[in-house]
């Protein structure tokens, strides 16, 4: 078996990746701020918009994440079998971990909200189902899972960004930043043909 070749990523994968990166960073930064807002009541409604937005973005990220996992699996099936180096295996592990933590983070956040008794209207358009009656114990459980998976996700992101910076400083080619040797048109063409 030969060494695993580097795979050029399609335009859609790259766009999804950067949307996901920007959204996750926004969710982290905005959540640290919004949790300092006064607790909700009939009088104090400061948390209403930030929390709805937080949930909307989080639920949208589940869809983006599943799409990216599907794309990744499809790429994997197409790639000829090859032996990966130790670093490639670690990078793959970090990717898988990031996806799993992101999914766990978003799902636990949604479930926590669902058990808190607050309704979720996706992008102020579609009422999402409430899974059960208000349940404080389950709300706290999923809230804790949400918190810890988020810290785990931040750690996985640090590793991911650290690796990207390492490769950038080392002058290696990075698949998220394709060079002119493969134009975006070629990548887009492949995108279209693969759908």
């Amino acid at each position: 078996m030969q060494e695993a070749p580097e795979v050029k990523l399609s335009l859609s994968t790259r766009v999804l990746h950067w949307c996901l990166a920007g959204s996750v960073l926004f969710l982290f930064v905005s959540s640290w701020w919004m949790l300092s807002l006064p607790l909700p009541s009939d009088t104090f409604t400061y948390r209403e918009l930030p929390f709805q937005l937080h949930k909307n973005i989080g639920i949208t990220l589940i869809a983006i994440c599943l799409l990216m996992i599907a794309q990744r699996l499809r790429r994997r099936l197409r790639r000829p079998k090859a032996t990966a180096t130790r670093w490639q295996k670690l990078a793959e592990l970090d990717h898988v971990l990031t996806y799993l933590l992101l999914l766990a983070c978003c799902l636990s956040g949604y479930l926590s909200s669902s058990f808190s008794g607050w309704t979720t209207t996706l992008w102020w358009l579609v009422d999402l189902p409430v899974w059960s009656q208000e349940n404080d114990d389950l709300n706290i459980l999923f809230s804790d899972i949400h918190l810890w998976t988020c810290w785990g996700l931040l750690l996985a992101m640090v590793l991911h960004i650290g690796a990207a910076l390492y490769h950038a400083f080392a002058g290696d080619s990075l698949t998220m930043f394709p060079t002119d040797t493969e134009s975006s048109h070629q990548a887009a063409d492949r995108d279209i043909s693969s759908t």
């Binding site: 580097e6 790259r14 950067w18 990166a21 920007g22 960073l25 926004f26 982290f28 930064v29 905005s30 701020w33 919004m34 949790l35 300092s36 807002l37 006064p38 607790l39 009541s41 009939d42 009088t43 104090f44 409604t45 400061y46 918009l49 930030p50 937005l53 808190s116 404080d136 709300n139 706290i140 809230s143 960004i161 990207a164 910076l165 490769h167 950038a168 400083f169 080392a170 002058g171 290696d172 080619s173 990075l174 998220m176 930043f177 394709p178 060079t179 002119d180 040797t181």
Partner: protein, 178 residues
């Protein structure tokens, strides 16, 4: 791994640009949300006491004092802001979000060695520098509570953008040959 065909300095500069542009996008997106939510004349300013229910305090892991101070923090921010501050800050945050999104695209292009996007890089960072200066001057003209919140981040972002701007200016002639 094989070295990429374009210069490695372009690559790391582009990657750093993307990283900081995304962080700026997150920070300014939050600022936009903040200025949307914290409206003058809202309940915190009216002196209404905080509603701190015991079950909510337990859920959030808060003390009663912390819960009461959350209202005071909002009140402090609003009290320290002049009338013009909210609209200016909202416009600045929106402009910075758009500029950060552009800087992300430009950074991706530079990391990939795409000459087309190089021309946009220096003007994008010049715009970001201008926004930092306006934000800094605006913060100087607010009360001490807002100055404490805004001056240092504005200065920090100014120097980050200045570093990128200078790096872009010094590498321009070489890139035009690529």
């Amino acid at each position: 791994m094989e070295p990429s065909p374009h210069s490695s300095s372009s690559s790391w500069l582009g990657v750093l640009m993307v990283l900081f542009a995304l962080l700026l996008l997150a920070a300014q997106g939050t600022e936009l949300l903040k200025q949307t939510v914290l409206a003058p004349g809202s309940s915190a300013v009216l002196g209404i006491p905080a509603d701190c229910r015991q079950d909510e305090l337990e859920e959030e892991g808060l003390s009663l004092e912390e819960c009461q101070l959350m209202v005071s923090v909002v009140r402090a921010s609003l009290s320290s802001a002049p009338d013009w501050f909210r609209s200016l800050q909202w416009a600045l945050a929106l402009s910075a979000c758009l500029a950060a999104a552009l800087a992300t695209a430009v950074g991706v292009g530079i990391a990939g060695g795409r000459a087309r996007l190089n021309r946009l890089a220096a003007p994008t960072f010049a715009l970001l520098l201008l926004l930092d200066v306006i934000a800094f001057v605006a913060a100087v003209n607010t009360g001490p509570l807002l100055r404490a919140q805004y001056l240092w981040p504005s200065l920090l972002w100014f120097f980050i953008h200045l570093s990128f701007f200078c790096a872009l200016l010094t590498r321009r002639p070489g890139l035009e040959n690529t």
